[in-house]
């Protein structure tokens, strides 16, 4: 096995591998259904809601993380009392050398290993090999990868990126007998026979641990194949390698983890073997290597300590749309998936984490399935900020962001672009005579010569349609930079809808960008610059409404943190947060018009995409559906995976177009299957992305912002 190749190489080769994204797509879809059913089943068994089970497990892990030194001592004392020898390794080198020395002492050159992510983290196999010791992986997937000099791409299903035909060839090469590509059971049986001699010959068996029980010094190992138990039992020396964060106080706490682990990992109720080792078997030795390797540092920082709750189930990867397209070799380092973007920074350094974290779309799906409630999206952003500080942003991105902070420069830029693109303007699109990696899969939008802010209709007087709770309220319309310049019709429609609900609409002319692109890039300095400007612009009215939920979420979730060292600005951010609404939330809340008010016009079937961040971070999956149904009586069709990201991801679609295109494909397939002829979204970035994608894919679907769709049905618009 080798260390990971450079990120750019891993990313490019992942994009070329279509079989990879296809098999991960099938996997993610089936996992989601089975896992959800398992969680419902567990609620019945435990007599508790899933959230309560998750919170209980998280709180138990937190209690250990908060008290690590004492827990390590307690575990160590108990394990030694049970007859094990405990070694605390501060670094990978210390752990590796201790284990190599054990092998030398044992006079063995063959070691069998159960599946263990921590030994991958340490590059233990490479270290042992350099010491003349052959470590043989005995988990089927790990063994196959080892035979082919490959690395795991998923924490739980290491070989998920390999096809059965490839497996058959690997086994033929290794065993010298032919394998039928379709006879997977024969391939599996071969592992039993081929590995048997190694189990019996090895002088040392190495396993990981899923938990360490402090009270009794027991180590918990779960497997499905039985290879871990065999590795731990047949050789005369059993070495358990585990991170210190695996400690749990009692067996009861271990069971809390058991209940959620397999359900979250492989969507099984429990693994075949759930094994507790307490001290060595008679006449055998047991060593426990407790690994730090960055963990105490992780526990010591407020933003990162929750990542130590991780039970390595891989659920976060199983819902990650970016992971689905490129797999774990690109989306991760040794640890893959969303959690890998966080813990890599501690185990392997910020440089190792820098490449993969640029692929995160910030959709927030990972956090919704984490069985220990790790705030992954926030932590990934924090890693981005660290990357920006320590490794630096790419020059183009840095300059681009700086230019973006200036409303005038941005205005001038879009105006020049509008003039340049004018000859190619066709309706809503810019159809250039050439296409490249940014445009072949997504037709660029038309760039209007006049932004929303300079159109008379924006400030026109139009009447209320019906009284609402918001009647007479002064509403500041935050247009959002993208809508203002690239989709002015969305801004105009928003103003019309607010007036229809009886609001007095004010549109300050000096507004620009909320700072979200900079926040997403980890560029806090520019983010603060834009946030201050936005705060100054928006102060002084009753409510603030924006047609861009992404910006509302930035103001609600990110501003307070941005100004954590500036109390005056932070207070202003808090004041603002109390008054900000995204348009959907406002129309569904205070500005709710009576049902049926807009029941006229367009009768085409409507599919509704759910803005992923809205669904995942503020839990409003269905607000848009019920709003559209209620107001218009439209035929809203079922859109599968409506909550899954469309692939826009802010600047990700520019930084990683191949990834963005892959995620968009998944969405458009679902849109095509839905039968909808209109696709609604309420986020302007997603709107332009989906509209351009639907056009490039020649889908017979009109993509509209919900504001456009609703405003077109206002009486005076008919």
């Amino acid at each position: 096995m080798s260390v990971p190749k450079p990120f750019a190489e891993r990313y490019e080769s992942a994009l070329e591998n279509e079989a990879l994204s296809e098999s991960l797509l099938a996997f993610q879809r089936s996992w989601r259904d089975t896992r959800d059913a398992q969680i419902v089943d567990l609620e019945g068994i435990a007599g508790m809601k899933a959230d309560a089970l998750r919170d209980g497990l998280a709180a138990m892990k937190d209690s250990v993380i908060a008290d690590l030194p004492a827990m390590v001592t307690q575990f160590r004392t108990a394990a030694e009392a049970a007859g094990a020898i405990v070694f605390e390794a501060a670094t990978a080198e210390e752990a590796n050398e201790y284990i190599a020395q054990l092998c030398r002492d044992q006079g063995t050159t063959t070691v069998v290993k159960g599946k263990s992510m921590v030994t991958e983290e340490l590059f233990l196999n490479e270290h042992l090999e350099a010491a003349g010791i052959k470590a043989i992986e005995t988990d089927l997937g790990e063994w196959l990868l080892q035979l082919d000099d490959d690395r795991p791409s998923h924490v739980v299903m290491p070989a998920i990126h390999r096809r059965r035909q490839e497996v058959a060839r690997i086994l033929e090469r290794e065993l010298g007998v032919p394998f039928d590509d379709d006879d997977i059971p024969a391939m599996v049986r071969s592992a039993r026979t081929a590995l048997r001699e190694h189990f019996l010959a090895a002088g040392v068996g190495i396993t990981g641990a899923n938990a360490l029980v402090a009270k009794t010094g027991s180590t918990l190992l779960v497997t499905n194949e039985g290879n871990g138990e065999f590795s731990a039992s047949a050789p005369p020396v059993h070495v358990v390698v585990a991170g210190i964060e695996k400690i749990v106080p009692t067996f009861g706490d271990a069971m809390k983890q058991v209940r959620l682990l397999a359900r979250s990992a492989t969507a099984q109720p429990i693994t075949t073997y759930t094994s507790f080792f307490t001290g060595p078997a008679p006449s055998h030795e047991m060593h426990i290597v407790l690994v730090d390797n960055g963990r105490r540092a992780m526990a010591g920082e407020e933003w990162s300590s929750a990542a130590l709750r991780c039970i390595k189930c891989g659920a976060c990867a199983n819902v990650c749309p970016a992971y689905q397209v490129v797999g774990g070799h690109a989306f991760g380092h040794v640890y893959t998936g969303p959690i890998g973007l966080v813990n890599t920074a501690f185990h392997h350094g910020i440089k190792a984490a820098a490449g993969p974290q640029s692929l995160c779309l910030s959709c927030g799906a990972c956090e919704t399935v984490c069985p220990v409630d790790i705030p992954l999206p926030e932590q990934i952003l924090q890693v981005r900020r660290r990357t920006a500080e320590e490794v630096g942003l790419p020059r183009s991105r840095r300059l681009g962001m700086r230019a973006y902070t200036s409303r005038r420069l941005f205005g001038l830029g879009t105006r020049l672009a509008a003039i340049a693109a004018l000859p190619f303007r066709r309706g809503r699109f810019t159809r250039a005579p050439f296409s490249g990696r940014f445009t072949s899969w997504r037709t660029p939008p038309a760039i209007p010569l006049r932004p929303a802010r300079s159109r008379a209709a924006l400030r026109a007087e139009s009447g209320a349609v019906a009284p609402t709770e918001a009647s007479g309220r002064h509403v500041t319309l935050f247009m959002q930079c993208v809508s203002d310049r690239l989709a002015p019709e969305v801004v105009l429609a928003t103003a019309d809808l607010l007036r229809a609900a009886g609001c007095e609409v004010d549109v300050p002319n000096d507004q620009h960008c909320c700072g979200l692109p900079a926040i997403d890039s980890g560029d806090d300095a520019n983010a603060r610059r834009m946030a201050r400007q936005t705060l100054e612009t928006l102060e002084g009215t009753d409510d603030i409404v924006t047609p861009a939920p992404s910006c509302a979420i930035a103001m609600l979730n990110d501003y307070e943190r941005l100004f954590e060292d500036e109390p005056v600005w932070q207070e202003r951010a808090r004041q603002l947060a109390g008054r900000v609404f995204d348009l959907t939330g406002y129309l569904a809340g205070p500005a709710r018009l009576p049902d049926g008010t807009l029941a006229r016009g367009d009768t085409r079937p409507v599919a509704i995409d759910h803005f992923c961040q809205g669904a995942n971070t503020i839990g409003r999956e269905d607000a848009l559906d019920s709003l559209v149904r209620g107001l218009t009586g439209a035929n809203v069709v079922q859109l599968e995976e409506a909550d899954v990201c469309c692939g826009f991801g802010g600047s990700t679609s520019i930084a990683a177009p191949g990834l963005s295109a892959g995620v968009l494909d998944r969405k458009l397939d679902r849109v095509a299957a839905s039968g909808g002829r209109v696709l609604l979204t309420d986020n302007p970035g997603c709107l332009l992305h989906l509209r351009g994608g639907a056009d490039a894919a020649r889908l017979d679907v009109e993509v509209l912002h919900v504001a456009e769709y609703l405003a077109a049905r206002l009486p005076d618009r008919e």
């Binding site: 005995t138 009794t216 499905n224 065999f230 009861g252 069971m255 429990i270």
Partner: protein, 177 residues
């Protein structure tokens, strides 16, 4: 005392994990059942069980195999049938809790092609929490305690569920008495 809803839960959960639950009256019945599964081959028994239940050893007679204490794994690998006594059966998950201190016991449970795990009826518990209470009370009980749930399996090749890897490919859970 065990109520039948708990047994029914155990049966359903065990079936979900592809093991089968049987109810037998005596150790002699267990011997007959194991011999039937073994066909013309021998039946391995964990040494601890063989010593504790002479009636099982008697009923198996010459067909009983024991691991060689010097080389427990090599000597018993791939026995047709292996019998072990479980300390608990857990209804919630359809699992049997095996407590094996001796390597020879582990070898029989781990490597037989067909596993037979016997649990006396009064040792069925409802939940994993009950198993944790038992483990606490017994301070871990043995150097290896395994909750075994169904035959060994893998889905490592194209996520295709395949039964029988290093451990048994058939598992029978016998409720005794």
């Amino acid at each position: 005392m065990t109520t039948s809803p708990v047994l029914e839960e155990l049966r359903a959960r065990a079936r979900d994990s592809q093991s089968e639950v049987h109810e037998l009256g005596t150790w002699a019945d267990v011997a007959r059942f194991a011999l039937e599964l073994a066909g013309s081959e021998d039946v391995a028994v964990t040494p601890t069980l063989a010593a504790a239940r002479p009636e099982l050893a008697t009923a198996l007679g010459e067909r009983m195999r024991q691991p060689d204490p010097e080389a427990p794994f090599a000597s018993i690998a791939d026995a047709a049938v292996g019998i072990a006594e479980g300390m608990l059966a857990v209804a919630e998950s359809g699992s049997v809790l095996l407590a094996h201190d001796e390597l020879a016991d582990r070898a029989v449970s781990m490597l037989s092609r067909i596993g037979v795990q016997v649990v006396p009826r009064d040792r069925i518990v409802a939940s994993l929490d009950d198993a944790a209470v038992w483990l606490d009370a017994n301070e871990g009980a043995a150097s290896l305690v395994s909750l075994v749930t169904g035959p060994s399996r893998t889905a490592d090749i194209e996520r295709s569920l395949t039964i029988g890897v290093q451990g048994p490919s058939d598992l029978h859970l016998v409720i005794l008495g």
